[in-house]
Symmetry: C2
Subunit: 240 residues, 2 copies
Amino acid sequence: MDESLPQGTTTAPQKGTVTQRAIDQIKAMIGEGRLEPGARLPTERDLATQLGISRSSMREAIRALTVLGVLEARHGSGIYVTQLEAGDLLETFGVVADLSRGPRLVELLEVRRILESTATALAAARISADQLAEVEKHLTAMNATDDPEEILSHDLAFHRAIVASAGNDTMAAILEGLSSRTFRARVWRGYQEEGAFERTRREHAAIHRALVAHDPEAARAAAASHVGEVEQWLRTQLQP
Amino acid sequence: MDESLPQGTTTAPQKGTVTQRAIDQIKAMIGEGRLEPGARLPTERDLATQLGISRSSMREAIRALTVLGVLEARHGSGIYVTQLEAGDLLETFGVVADLSRGPRLVELLEVRRILESTATALAAARISADQLAEVEKHLTAMNATDDPEEILSHDLAFHRAIVASAGNDTMAAILEGLSSRTFRARVWRGYQEEGAFERTRREHAAIHRALVAHDPEAARAAAASHVGEVEQWLRTQLQP
DNA sequence: CCACTCAGGTGGTCGGACCACTACGCATCG
DNA sequence: CGATGCGTAGTGGTCCGACCACCTGAGTGG
């Protein structure tokens, strides 16, 4: 069947590195509810003792879970479990966008097109007056300046406000990663040099109209077309 | 002449922890193309010396990038950059599914419904004979057993084969995380106790028919309905 | 009653030591 | 001559102990 290895403590699969085991164990503690969101963990030294490993290895495990958005270390205070909200856990999604290039950029944009068109459709049905005002604020601000940096900033906020109105925080967090600053800046650099300003402006206006009219289908089409334009442009860039 | 500037050009901005800086620098090296996918990094000791930090801190940085799927450490050999493919970077996506609970599970299922319905529609248009055979293999195997464990396994493979036929690796990797074993096992436990076997079988058959007919719209509807069923069930479970 | 001080505890960093494993060249054997 | 085996150098993995930087809260003084 299996082994003849005596287990020192309760559960020790004895697989992989010591650090990896520590990562899994802490993750399991949270998954099983033994550690609530926001809870404070024992000290690094205590944790290391409990799991029978050195503090160095335990620190590596904690660092790993920190970059994953699961834990949060506060210098001088302690280690805490994050709220485990979508934003916390999906922050690493931005890394994917930053490190992707070539064909994968197109794939990412395709995913964004699918999700954002649906999110925009949902927003058209659910958006409130206040949320719509927020959207309009960034729309007008975007059209009132020529600074590319500022345009990009308001463009991001424009879409972010719309997606937030869709009411699905997880989807919003994913799209946030897919629209991260460095990601868009890379694509926009060349895209806007082809006189895409005016087209972008029209597309944004179309999206806005659909939101005002609370027309999900029109919103979906407008958003899909908007992202699709960039997607198609990028596709041609890869086939010189 | 270096400090008091918002951002340095070459040297470190002296922000955050030393380890975090190391993480960013390595990430930047890869992003700027100074480290190609599959390339071998200098040794931990050399890297630590280059960045002027201790080996312990460097190890934490490496470990962090390892769990993110950016680096891969081979004991006794060296540290290498992964191929940076969708699967490598999106493996951490499974953590989100594993640690999510309550309302966020519904949100995740909603995202999956949107993506998988589109992926299934794409698959209907593009699927080849070989790929279709693979899908059918798992479909029949799923209907030929009563072992819940085996059913779940073939169910996963069934959808995986379909999504793979859509031709978007990034989307496939995301859906893989959203359909991870532990995630589905948690949901299915209760779902299948309500006689959902037969319904699931019919829904799978409908998806298969649409694939055979190369009918994207039917495939989209069938897939959306399939995931939506589970989604709705889960929604009711949260409102007792 | 409030503000300040300061000591203890915590995460952050460092350097060194040793172990486990891999890779590669060299000597050996067929 | 080629294939095999072995040994060694180099790599990541682990551990230890020390010190630093920072936060917290109890105690002190006004």
